[in-house]
Symmetry: C2
Subunit: 319 residues, 2 copies
Amino acid sequence: MSFALKEIKEARQRISPYVLKTPLLRMPMLDARLGCEVYAKVECMQTTGAFKLRGAFNKLLSLSPEQLKNGVVTASTGNHGRAMAYAAKMLGARATVVMPRTAPQVKIDAVRALGADVVLCGAEERFDVAERIRRESDGTMVPPYNDDVIMAGQGTLGVEIIEQQPDLDAVVVPVGGGGLISGVATAVKESSPRVRVYGADPAVLPAYAQSLKAGRMLTLPFSPTVAEALLCQTPGDKCFPCLQKYVDAVYSVSESFILKGMKLLLTEGKILAEASSCIGVGAAMEKLLPVSTKDKVCFVISGGSVGVEQLRMLEEVEL
Amino acid sequence: MSFALKEIKEARQRISPYVLKTPLLRMPMLDARLGCEVYAKVECMQTTGAFKLRGAFNKLLSLSPEQLKNGVVTASTGNHGRAMAYAAKMLGARATVVMPRTAPQVKIDAVRALGADVVLCGAEERFDVAERIRRESDGTMVPPYNDDVIMAGQGTLGVEIIEQQPDLDAVVVPVGGGGLISGVATAVKESSPRVRVYGADPAVLPAYAQSLKAGRMLTLPFSPTVAEALLCQTPGDKCFPCLQKYVDAVYSVSESFILKGMKLLLTEGKILAEASSCIGVGAAMEKLLPVSTKDKVCFVISGGSVGVEQLRMLEEVEL
């Protein structure tokens, strides 16, 4: 690991003019269902709709004027691409986002609306295409998670949580690529070691839960999941040691409970978040978390990129 | 008017063990669309899903043990009936809620689940039926809005707003029967007279906007509205003087902008609220409110009783 609380605090100084300090809400209406005193860090209310903006700004603000001038590149269909495009626009850098031809038009349009160049290609070749563009432009690659500067940026969310509610007993974080929980766990454990940090990954593709049990990074077979932002077959090699060091456990949540979490948060909590971001709530509903009714538990609601059309999938979900 | 800030503060003392102090959120992601610095008092996160609990508890806690023993009665299909049933359950009083036979089964079930007796009858006779039950049981009628004790209870929301954000320039409140805005305007104006208070009612049934212009209570012809909780043909005679005294203006919002307000709050603000509760946001989107970009404006999001099925109506709404 080559970042720590110090780098996270520096990141916070750096990005604070550009990134919102999102609310941390006490949500008593969810206590009975989740079996603890519920708090939610509603990062779905972050600018561009997700925590990704923290890492993207930390990365771009760490570049030299020369590097910024040459532009930044990433391969992403989701929140990371939008976050990088937004940060680049704010800082006057040229941004290129490589997306598969099959990406939904609405996501392509959203990135273009931020002034980024969108390059469409086949899904399998998107990382190669991004790397070629980077090389030809002498630009900088902005990876979605497996990068110390990105992880330190995401860690600013953990610093805010401890500041907003110092007497928490546990924090529950969605796990996909692993960048968010690496940053948050480092911030939480290095400032308040007694606070437990739990991760939640999809049971159909539990790359982190399995790898942590095995003690080494495994590559799992591809599986689709409703938590599409958490789709990850292999842990990032820079993230994995952070989880080994600082995360108490990662629990694997079934597809149906991920959706139950989303529906409960929406209908009872009145908060709209994407399925991936509700996986911790789903973990509590599935009774996977070692928490008791007196524990103060903060669920990180990491993003809210969801259109109203997608809410139809919740109609048949039973709470 | 026979209640004032004093009675509202007493109400607050009385109801505080039973009612949540809901968050007041700063929502910068809505600033550009609403033309001001946006704050939201998210009362949709209140227990039972709406502000109605404040008035109901204040009313029931003002009754003698003898009166409580004889039970409480109301005619309501919506949030008020549920709030009264919940308060009665907490205080060990028998509750009877009279509903039209045409009420949705889910609303009937919700009130029954709180232990109340539900009496079904024709829609036109429901107030007569409620009054007969009250007389026969020697119980107490709990009116939804046109009652000083109910209004003082709703006013506790105004006290919280000023406490949570003292430097506001304006507060925007949905107007239906008029109980909520009567209480809130009294609390706000008697503690911070410089804060402007605006109401918003449905343009298809603008009972308050028209009556205030005429200087007397008018009765308007019935019209359905998407803001079903705001359906009111005649101002309450106890509410109307409060609005005349303390409300700067009431603006009438078109049906399409009420729905735009609901969609914007959900998709950009990440807050789920019923259409009626989003009418103030709709008013700002329709450019009806005299606010400027530097004004700190608090929108009262009064309730969140909405099922996921109902969100289909937002799919075709353009922002």
